[in-house]
């Protein structure tokens, strides 16, 4: 089998797997909101629900197409998902895609630097602790990391806000910007407002990945090939960077890819503490109000995002681990 054919077959296989996964997830996305108890129309009316009778509730339901047979709703949803068109939010009266684009943008502005900084910190600090296993630095970093990992994020974020925003006054108490600047000043304003949320998310991200990196390094340092490398007379720096860190990378990439998905929706607490408009609060509000179109749209976007991150991780595996790279070239699935 030629190299090109093998690679094409590998990618076709992967695409098929991802395609089937996507269809299954889309179907689950459709079913879950409807399986939940509660009526989106009652949430739509809020306190006024008590003033509306059953007939008017049915009329409202018909307006949003929720009176139609479930299979019709499913077909329309799948066709809409194909076009990334999920109609209008029941609760917010806005086009779902516009709502998601808007929120997704701010989520990425929050998440990307957090993951990049957190990942980098974890890699650096994990390496320091892993290569110095049992030292004071290792004990200190591991202790801090476990503390951070086990600390409730709302409590931690509120403590940070109270100290740095309220008492010291170094940072604002929330929002994405002051809403009164333009141009370059606007960008600086956003940076100023996002400093604390990004720092907190980075710290949580770093605390989580730190433990994985540190433990991987500790494990790899005990492997036979490290013993051989030392026996060959290679310097400690060469062993650490060329042999150990390279073997840590696949796990690091894998956990980073997974975290992208989790953090997009998992930044909810930070969004609430800092009053940021992101995907976390959008999904939370939609679940609470049973806003089916928004829930469906948000989950589809998250699905695509997570699958894309995983696909990217698959490709990066091939680069970082030659054994996986070889299998890509020969078309053999691993």
């Amino acid at each position: 089998m030629s190299l090109a054919k093998g690679r094409a077959r590998f990618f076709a296989g992967k695409a098929l797997r991802y395609g089937i996964t996507l269809v299954i997830i889309l179907s689950i996305n459709f079913a879950i909101p409807r399986a939940m108890p509660g009526d989106p129309m009652i949430n739509l009316l809020g306190e006024d629900a008590v003033r509306v009778d059953r007939q008017m509730l049915d009329e409202l339901r018909a307006q949003y197409g929720l009176d139609r047979p479930i299979q019709d709703q499913y077909i329309e949803y799948m066709l809409g998902a194909g076009r990334l068109d999920f109609g209008y939010s029941i609760h917010k009266n806005l086009k779902v895609t516009e709502l998601i684009y808007d929120r997704f943008f701010w989520t990425l502005v929050l998440i990307f630097p957090s993951i990049a900084i957190g990942g980098l910190l974890a890699l650096v600090l994990g390496a320091i602790a892993g290569f110095r296993q049992g030292s004071k630095v290792d004990r200190l970093l591991t202790g801090v990391s476990i503390f951070m990992y086990s600390c409730p994020s709302f409590l931690f974020a509120m403590v940070i806000v109270t100290i740095f925003s309220f008492h010291l006054g170094w940072f604002p108490l929330g929002n994405i910007s002051s809403g009164r600047t333009q141009g370059f000043a606007y960008l600086l304003d956003i940076g100023y407002h996002l400093f604390l949320p990004v720092a907190i998310l980075s710290a949580f991200e770093a605390a989580y990945i730190f433990l994985i990196v540190r433990n991987s390094i500790t494990q790899i340092m005990g492997e036979y090939f490290i013993f051989v490398a030392k026996a060959k007379g290679l310097s400690a720096r060469v062993i650490e960077l060329r042999h150990v860190m390279r073997n840590v990378l696949p796990q690091f990439i894998s956990i980073m890819a997974l975290n992208f998905g989790f953090m997009v929706s998992g930044a909810l607490i930070i969004e609430i503490v800092f009053s940021l408009n992101g995907m976390g609060t959008l999904i939370y509000d939609s679940v609470m109000s049973r806003d089916y179109p928004v829930l469906q749209g948000a989950f589809v976007f998250l699905t695509i995002f997570v699958l894309a991150a995983n696909f990217l991780a698959d490709v990066l595996y091939g680069i970082t681990d030659p054994r996986i790279g070889d299998s890509m070239n020969t078309g053999k699935m691993i």
Binding site: P37, N43, N93, V124, I128, T162, L173, L188
Partner: protein, 537 residues
């Protein structure tokens, strides 16, 4: 590696210092300049009500519009009376035909004159497009505008509380909305045009910041504040920090106050004042569904009422900012409030009443069986997002267990809870609050919540009750109304279709550097009295 670590630390520190210094000066409104003598240049209001879109159907946007940019024919005054707004006066002889005489010089924000046609259009348009209006004004047969300043509304039957409903209806401009087929998607600046003293100048979607400025062609007296910012916070804790820091002048929430847990910190701040108001709604009510077997027993309901330790509930949930209610259900601030039997904690009396009603522990497991011998495990519904109600329900379970009632708590999300209480009516008992507006609807005195024909959380279908309620709806004479209101409260105290478990006062903090804050039972601290009377201390 050490070098890299040092570099990283230095980079982070430099970024931190640069970012904290390069933008945003504090928006400390206590230092904000004032113009004229006592006029306030800008008032910053903090809120957890999030505006998603600037269309009038957005709940939060509608809320702020009704406070600042739009006016109704009548409104609710600071003492709870109906007072003129766009209508200078009104008259009715039979409570069926209502004639309103409107102001003659009012204009919309685009300069066009407000006419009676706009009122007629609004009522018809909203009845067509808004399900709540359709339901509330189902009995409104016609709206006529014989001239530019007169509106005649005709109901299908007399309705004393018609004006209460009308007070929540903001008038829309016909020349704008007549071309709007779907108001839920209408969010351009034209959608914001009203007749109120303020004009919405900008809405920053990313932050939720609303910026209002005074309408310089306003037809009435000019308000005392030039600009108003409404700033969104996703959680109350951060909003209170911003308030203590002086970034906002007043926190605002509809139909509720703030937790007493914030009070000690706020009292330490010399710039902050706190007003407490008697609550026109009820914070926590235990509802019995009288349409369900066992719960239709008056003796059972009375027995439950004696099982509750109201003093303990008041201390735990109101921290002293509340009162022990009467059996007559309605809050003490209600017009024609009548003192009825105080609710009392008496375990022995509760047990005696349960015995008398036939609820006895026949199998010796410590819990009472139903009079027909069946296992008796009444279910109490609570909303999961009402954290204090969940805690209060745990206390109620403790009290009821102590007298042998094996109550089961069922905590439900907002949607499912509303479905059962508002539509299915399959609940046995429920814990829920009432609002001031809700207490006024129908014939008032919370009767809508009780009456099976309206909200019906208690599903009462008793002719004695319904006669009083119907008479209240059609009676104008004050003395007769006082008498009927007293009869209704006596009925509540005797029959106990609902028990006020505790009622907390409204705690409303504000910036003490400004004086003239007025609390309104319907709209809270953000009302026309505040907007027109607030000034620098």
């Amino acid at each position: 590696m050490k070098y890299i670590t040092k570099l990283l630390i230095i980079t982070v520190l430099i970024s931190c210092v640069l970012l904290s210094g390069c933008t945003q000066t504090s928006e400390n409104s206590t230092d904000s300049p004032t113009v004229g003598d006592n006029r306030i240049q800008k008032l910053v209001i903090g809120t957890t009500n999030k505006v998603e879109d600037t269309n009038m159907n957005d709940y939060s946007f509608g809320l702020f519009s009704s406070r600042l940019t739009h006016r109704a024919l009548v409104t609710i005054g600071a003492n709870g009376d109906i007072v003129p707004d766009l209508a200078t006066s009104w008259d009715t002889s039979d409570l069926k035909t209502w004639t309103f005489h409107m102001v003659g010089n009012a204009t919309w924000h685009d300069g066009k004159p407000l006419t009676a046609q706009d009122v007629r259009f609004t009522m018809d348009y909203q009845k067509k497009n808004n399900p709540t209006w359709k339901s509330v004004f189902a009995g409104l047969l016609s709206v006529e505008a014989p001239d530019n300043q007169t509106v005649i509304m005709t109901l299908d039957k007399p309705g004393f509380n018609f004006l209460i409903n009308l007070a929540t209806c903001r008038v829309l401009p016909e020349h704008i909305y007549k071309n709007v087929e779907d108001p839920k998607k209408f969010n351009t600046p034209d959608a914001w045009i009203g007749t109120g003293p303020y004009v919405l100048k900008s809405f920053d979607k990313a932050t939720g910041l609303l910026h209002y400025e005074i309408y310089d062609q306003y037809w009435g007296q000019s308000p005392a504040i030039d600009q108003i910012d409404i700033r969104y916070f996703a959680n109350t804790d951060t909003m209170m920090l911003a308030f203590q820091k002086g970034e906002i002048d007043v926190p605002y929430a509809y139909a509720t106050g703030y937790s007493p847990y914030y009070v000690p910190k706020l009292l330490d701040n010399e710039n902050i004042g706190i007003m407490t108001q008697k609550n026109g709604g009820i914070t926590s009510v235990l509802w019995f569904n009288e349409n369900k077997t066992y719960f239709d027993s008056k003796t059972f309901r009375q027995a439950v009422s004696y099982a509750i330790d109201y003093e303990e509930m008041k201390n735990i949930f109101t921290s002293g900012y509340g009162s022990i209610p009467d059996a007559g259900f309605v809050p003490q601030s209600t017009l024609y409030y009548k003192e009825t039997r105080p609710l009392a904690y008496d375990v022995n009396k509760s047990k005696d009443l349960l015995d008398a009603a036939g609820f006895k522990d026949t199998n010796g497991d410590g819990f009472r069986e139903a009079p027909d011998g069946k296992k008796f495990q009444p279910v109490l519904l609570i909303r999961s997002d009402k954290v204090e109600h969940v805690r209060a329900a745990e206390m109620l379970k403790k009290y009821m267990n102590a007298v042998g009632i094996d109550v089961q708590l069922k905590i439900m999300d907002r949607s499912s809870f509303g479905d059962i209480l508002d539509f299915e009516k399959t609940h046995e008992m429920a814990l829920a609050r009432t609002t001031y507006a809700g207490m006024q609807t129908g014939s008032g005195y919370g009767s809508s919540y009780i009456d099976q024909r309206i909200y019906g959380w208690s599903m009462v279908n008793d002719s004695k009750f319904q006669t009083i309620v119907d008479q209240l709806m059609t009676t104008i004479d004050s003395e007769k109304r006082r008498d009927l209101a007293g009869q209704l409260q006596d009925y509540y105290a005797d029959e106990m279709p609902a028990i006020t478990v505790y009622n907390m006062d409204i705690i409303q903090p504000y910036n003490k550097n400004y004086v003239g804050w007025v609390y309104n039972p319907s709209s809270g601290i953000l009302n026309y009295d505040t907007l027109f009377g607030l000034h620098k201390a």
